[in-house]
Symmetry: D2
Subunit: 355 residues, 4 copies
């Protein structure tokens, strides 16, 4: 079986696993006061070239929902793409953690919010008018749910709108590393230099078992976060489990190498599939995901051969207006990971070509 | 250093760690649809001799708060010991997950709720009277926060009150195995046979890295639990991390052996400390915890030698009325684990005796 | 001054006020157990030709938020028009009362949801998929926020989709009477016969001081409502205040006469304004509201003469695609009430004509 | 019938009712921007001799829950008497409005919290320890649920503890006027001069239909209150309904005269009942409530004659330790109001004496 349904179908990378084994022995203080967590925090400060407050948690939904709760009161409006993960794939976790803030889903091609749309949307919620929820935050995903990337300029434009309207700016970086190596910029460029206040820094999909960091660039915003994390059950008692994963993930550019590999595999797949007759890639493949419209016959050939991909939402508003998935077609997402082998990609391409 | 501050200062047991390594390779479906999780569920059904619905999560607070949310509406009353973990040590997680239910803390010696107190407390909240929160659940901890145990008869008495008043009955089993081997009964005896509806089945403290199971004996009560878990960020994407830990924990009575070892170490410590002049153990040591009143001089000797214990709440209402911690005394909790060595215990005793 | 900014700028009608005076003397049981409330409930059962459970509250936001909380779990999706009152004008009250359910705002001309749009939207939230909020309810406003009406057939179509997908169906009837007399149907026709489960039956705008009824046609849905109302502070202690208003409002068709009058005034205004050069009414005036695009010069004349209207949202998605408010124009809402005099309307028209 | 079950079984006072009638005509801005509300706010500032922010609402539960939400984060601890109204009689409204803060009920004779108990309780929740909810507020009722009063010195002592621990201090003044005239002090003495930050200033029980003011002495604390009020459905659209009641209530010392009358009636009743054989008043009657232990025979005589009182909680922890209600006794609360006639009190006493 070649499982490309997601980058969470694999385990941890060898480097991360070995670090976990090494961290297992000996006594360590609990609840995040262990040495491994301290090391991870120091590494993140260095990598981001900024003072940071770091909180490790085990899940991306936990990280995102906690981060948004740090940015919005219950009567706040959080602007995001209509099909973003926080809006669509977390069963209302942001609403739970913010005690009922309103996620305002905005349309946008290729899974991307634009500064202009954001500006217009904010105008609907006038400051101080009590019947209106109050603009509190904007959240973008980098990589987006369409496998695309915001350019640094686009992030900065959104950051500028956020700053002007006093919105907190959250970046959901479940695939942060994949975005970073694709843009070829520094973590600072992609975040605080562009106005980002809080990052959900994902490590699970790209090498860890279960580890994400919520990173604050302004310590004042983190003031109550320890209580929020504890109260939501996201403070892991044997904190070394998280600390050891994250420090191993970051050490010696392991995270960047993993991401480069995964992106390379996606590029290989995009090239291979994209050139086949009857196949369309409605969104550019800019990181480690390939979204393809395939003839049903091709899909069947792949399925029968044990290839797994994720059926995608055919009415996505992120698709170009003229893109219609035909009744003899499927719309699939392929995701590559640090473990995906070139050989597997080539097999998928060969199967599709043969179909 | 001999760290007996808690049973979460150690890592995972060898058996659990090896299972994790073994489970790392290959593709597995995400979000709890992996083979390891399925295996853990089957093992729990067998161990509890009952049909069960099982949900694995990474933290005890997550398990408890989710379980209580499954039992109480926002206008519900949840009865528990005034100093129980759910009331005192989770920063209001049950209130968050239940959307504002009221935890009614009841007094009780040795950390234990009594059926009589429960009955009296329920009477204050008449059914159908809208100004009163409505009795919805009772939650007990086994092992208690005082390191003591409910007898099977005591649990059954509480279960009987719960049944008669239509309360859900939750058992916080963060140290389930320690209680079980001490009582020498079956998991069924300690739970559904005594009226328990939902168990937070802890595995973290007794051998895992981070793994707890919420176990339902009535599938109807679990109907919405998948949404609750997802929405609170407690659905781990690489679910094998939890599944592999839990199945290894249960295999070949590993969990029971770990607990027997830890309990034996606590018994050794209780015997050794209990006999020393100036030392009192206000609560019977019935599992893997020893609570001791020590002369400050003794405490200093231990601290200086690198022994770590947890200072405890000197005004605890679980203490006998005539127990007063003197100004030249400390009140400490020692917790043993599957890793505690007899030699370490003997060192602690020798140090205390020497002081 | 001629204040047509809203139908809540006037006081209570003479009949309602007199009933309040009459109800003031003597002792009455509190919290809704008074005779006046009982009378109002009986009258509503008769008027709706159905068994009903009735809960009186003082505000429309309270009524709507409580009603939606009775229909949706925290992980539910509530479908509504993107610019509906529940979505846009209650500062997130539905999110607060449902403990974080998600309001899914759908586009639609003239402020109206369509059955087709609803069907499509539901498809995005597959049943049982834990990452997706679960379709729980649909809410429409009758009269809509655009001053338009759903036909009985349109309501029934939405009701049919709701029934098929097991959604609760809520009707926000802040201007219920205005809709009813305009359609010329019975209350039963406009509600339960078309599939509606719960009505926010507004009386404040049409003759009361502060009184709305949440009406359930299925008593089972109302099971916990008394707790919800109490817990949200919406159970008025001197319940006669609400009961006396509502019974007076309903007596001798007072509510229908008030609504007929208000609607007549709006019709008069729509005819008068609609025919003026440079004036457009982008939405049909079907009840007691007139939305007009006016030249700025006309608007100034009206303002200077003391006429008050409410500036409306110029980018409303309920407007026809080709409707653009020019830079020399304003977009205003006029609302008539039971107190509006023909003479006032004629003055407004004369002023506008003169401008 | 002589109904002394509560002071909410009567309607509004003549002065309040007439003001409502007078306020009914003419157009007024909605949502609290009317002239009557502005007048009430100005009067309260004068009466309290302090800058104030005032928010009118229709219910006491709304006022209390909103006030506490302004003082405590979701992870906060709110200290109050174990049998206070906010803890016991609002179906968890404070928990709903605070998004799950924890009310810590403290014991205390005569329904009163003591500064000493408060100090001890705070110590259980150390600042900055994430597992513990964080001390955020203290709330007292004046008049208490036992019909007793805090002296000014007692309030100031609690205020001092609150200030020292940085707790917000809330006073539930559902019977504010009754307390004030009994103590013979100024509103300033009983509130901000003693450290109180927010008052629920009740007017409903003492002359209005439905009107309470949430009063802030520090405008900064009120910053988000408008959103909280709107979002909870407590912003009345025809705001004159509240404004007219409150301004009439305060005008010409009407509120103080009403309270003096009610208190006088209670004093008359306490004297009359207190001297009868077999009758005990376990709590001093200090405002407009009398709590009496009566022989069952006496109770039957009263009931049969149409006298209504409220059966009270016989196991109240506010009772002296040696006070036990016998099996041949009842424990009843009598409440007098501005409408209670001396003749009614004398009838009740005569009936009891005759029994």
């Amino acid at each position: 079986m070649i499982n490309l349904a997601s980058d969470n179908v694999v385990g941890a990378s060898k480097q991360v696993l070995e670090a976990l084994i090494a961290a297992n022995s000996g006594a360590e203080a609990a609840y995040g006061s262990d040495h491994y967590t301290a090391e991870a925090e120091a590494m993140l400060a260095e990598i981001f070239e900024h003072e940071v407050k770091v909180f490790l948690v085990a899940t991306g939904t936990g990280a995102n929902a906690l981060a948004l709760a740090a940015l919005s009161p219950p009567w706040g409006a959080i602007f995001c793409h209509e099909e973003s993960h926080v809006a669509d794939d977390e069963c209302g976790a942001p609403e739970m953690f913010t005690d009922g803030a309103k996620l305002i889903g905005l349309p946008g091609l290729n899974g991307k919010l634009t500064a202009g749309r954001l500006e217009t949307a904010i105008a609907r919620y006038p400051k101080g008018v009590v019947k209106a929820v109050q603009p509190a935050a904007v959240s973008i995903s980098q990589v987006t749910e369409s496998g695309t990337l915001y350019s640094l300029a686009e992030i900065a434009e959104i950051g500028e709108v956020a700053r002007r309207h006093d919105l907190g700016f959250h970046l959901d970086g479940a695939r942060f590393a994949n975005a970073l190596v694709s843009l070829g910029c520094t973590p600072a460029d992609m975040t605080w230099k562009a106005g980002v206040d809080i990052v959900s820094f994902g490590a699970t999909k790209n090498g860890c078992f279960a580890c994400e960091a919520v990173i604050f660039f302004d310590p004042a915003r983190a003031e109550h976060f320890g209580f929020r994390r504890k109260r939501s059950g996201h403070t892991v008692s044997k904190g070394r489990l998280l600390g050891a994963q994250m420090s191993a993930y970051l050490r010696n550019n392991h995270w960047l190498e993993n991401a480069r590999h995964a992106n390379g595999m996606a590029e290989r797949l995009a090239k291979g599939l994209g050139g086949l007759p009857g196949v369309r890639l409605p969104w550019p493949s800019q990181a480690n995901e390939v979204f393809a419209v395939l003839p049903k016959a091709t899909a069947k050939t792949l399925s029968d051969a044990g290839v797994r991909a994720a059926p995608w939402y055919e009415l996505s508003i992120s698709l170009p207006t003229n893109e219609k998935i035909g009744t003899n077609e499927v719309f699939w997402r392929f995701v590559t990971s640090f473990e995906t082998a070139p050989d597997q990609i080539d097999q998928v391409i060969a199967l599709a070509r043969g179909a």
